[in-house]
Symmetry: D2
Subunit: 248 residues, 4 copies
């Protein structure tokens, strides 16, 4: 029984048993599952309580200050990957980082969700830096290179495929597969930084106020360290202005 | 001479008199700014170094384990607001939480970015819970109620406006403006949980494997605590199945 | 030999026994098909030649005038259904109608394609009317009511499902299934007209210049006739202004 | 008075008069405008009546046949430009052409509207040909090359900009500006045909059933004639398969 529950939770029953049996097992496991596991796990409430206590200890006015509103210096555009906790890897906390995370930290110019984030970050919050953060061993990058599905993920990753297609010469001379994958991660961050500069709101704000600065970094999962790709707005702008400056 | 270069590069001399002061300050600040402040601030590298050290201290194999891949139990759909650091408020760390954050934690069925996230989380990672997390004092909710712009943010927030429109009776009897705003935050989370259940990939997985469980929580910025809205999949499903079950 | 080439090119040999017959027929048909039918059918070139001749006959300066640019009075937002040829059913020709057609003539506020169409039509062309045209016997409406797929069509039609959900009382008293379906088509047009008014560019232009006028019509496939739903901007505006007027 | 109405309708008042006066004029002109011109113009009903009569004359069972459903051979992806009436330029009528028209006949892989159209056309209607139709003197192409706005049109046209960027060498040797613009129109059609082949639903159907065939044509507004770009599925496939075949 117990192992059945585990199986069904892992979703590995489809290959071994018929449709009918599967449903029955689900009905059983589901019954117990609902009673025991449907609730939001207690570990989250406990984790939250520990965090609240710790924040209070460090600064008794912490939450009082938070209620004053937000004034972050940074917009972070990163991957949804669970191994890249945005605030933690940068040593930041509540109030420091405006965050958008999607699969493979992609900046798609026609992405409505991203465009709303950019508008809020640039026009309302006036962030000083927009950080595009990739990471080695990115499942999204891997999925782009070895597609095996037919859903929205496939088309979402077309941006990453363009990066690979557009840099074949540079990639082909890298013999190590791991190094090649790491290079794609870096090239993807650089491309997405360019895409940020193509966004009219960003470009306009930078020309007028000198901000935001676009930053490209890679999080190295093997060491936990950040690699600065040393992006400069002026260089990004030079590369995209011919096609994407609406005022030239 | 130097400032002239800046001018031509920035192309922002065509503005009117009322903005002159600002531009002059910008011209000066920009010249020094580029030299001093364009780089990614040092505080982030220092913060990262502290984090790496701390993770090592707690578990010398921490990063070695991370390289094995991710296996998070949770997908977190939260607001981009800097005051809601997803992992921290739940007491979680690297590897625990697959994260998507946008303005006002909206689940728009035609949002390609979200659909790719959902596909990866449900089909590849087989997460056990999808947590929709709203928060009081949400700038996105406020912007939805008092729109003053003409950009993508305006249309992005139409989902929130539907929530307000659809719950006028309930909202109108709440006299305190603050309480009414808090209610809208809660109703928005509930609506977005329903929207998650409308997503075919979620619905199919839940029927077949009993997961993911959809959870709705609100982060109270005044206290740092979580409020569980006690969402149940079966209740969500009952409310949307007539229109959104593709197998009935 | 030839069929082998086809096989490898098509890469469709991994299918199961039950599909063999189909594949064989395909292999044969495909071989000849490629030789004979891959080209754009001749009927289209002949049809084009007839049209060119006819336009010349009516007006020898027809194409010379067309090269002067476009200045249409109307934007037509209609269904992709092949039985609703936009210009023909309105007795119009080249230069008269700016056209956007999608599944079920949906106006989704976060649809980038539609938003670009609206911007061009309202700001560049300054069209006088935006016509939302539905039609009875709409396959998109049917698909929304009896979903059986798991793709983008399912989520695209969520707008139509909202129309059905939001008008249950009115729909439930209609006994004839056909009449009920026709009512949904009409309600869908009305809802999409409201959505047009929610679009900031439309609302702003109407307030400032008195145009565009939003029009809702239904094409009755049984008779070929148009039904005017007698939409008025001021009424649309009254119904959406509370949530969607960004200047109130 | 009359001339004021005309002005306000054309939207040419903003530069000449102050905000206050403009509003007053609008209030006046709008009052008359509403009385006289808000209705759907009579020419459309008359045009419709002529069309219905003509169809009846040609075939008294025309509308009876239409009610049987649609079975078009073609999906047409064309520009919204009013000078490209899809059915007419191909000599086709009701029932022949499933139609999607947007700005600059763009095929964006993450466009939900297009993806729903493709799914319906390929999986439900099983169309034999997908025709991407561009046209010379395309306002969308021009807007992409000389951007002057800050709205969704700007980002929508990024696809066209990529076409220009990716073909600089070929374009730079064309001295005539008109010829260069025509070349961009052609290259844009070819790129969008490639994008159609990248779509999983299209690729899968073609591999299994030999259809749809992707066709690229250009409508020459100066002559009314079609130019066949002689697209072949197999060639499109060869160019995109490395990155976009999910089964290789």
């Amino acid at each position: 029984m117990v192992s059945c529950e585990c199986n069904s939770k892992q979703g590995s029953l489809t290959t071994t048993i018929s449709e009918n049996e599967e449903i029955e097992i689900f009905q059983i496991s589901n019954r117990y599952y609902e009673q025991e596991h449907e609730e939001l796990p207690q570990e989250l409430f406990e984790g939250n309580a520990r965090w609240v206590e710790q924040m209070h200890e460090n600064d008794s006015l912490f939450f009082e200050k938070l209620t004053k509103g937000q004034n972050p210096n940074y917009l972070f555009i990163g991957c949804s990957d669970s191994r890249v906790p945005a605030e933690q890897i940068l040593g930041l906390g509540a109030g420091d980082l405006f965050v958008h995370r999607n699969i493979a930290n992609v900046v798609n110019l026609t992405d409505h969700s991203l465009n709303a984030v950019i508008q809020f970050a640039v026009e309302n919050l006036k962030v000083k830096h927009i950080i595009v953060c990739g990471h080695y061993d990115c499942g999204g990058i891997k999925a782009a290179l070895a597609p095996h599905d037919h859903g929205p993920l496939h088309s979402w990753l077309c941006e990453v495929k363009e990066v690979v297609d557009g840099n074949k010469a540079e990639l082909s001379v890298i013999n190590s597969k791991e190094k090649r994958m790491e290079k794609i991660v870096e090239l993807n961050v650089i491309q997405q930084c360019k895409n940020v500069m193509k966004l009219n709101r960003v470009q306009k704000s930078w020309k007028k106020y000198g901000i935001p600065h676009i930053q490209g970094i890679v999080f190295d999962i093997k060491t936990g360290q950040l690699i600065d790709l040393e992006i400069k707005n002026s260089k990004l702008y030079d590369e995209i202005k011919e096609s994407h400056d609406s005022e030239l």
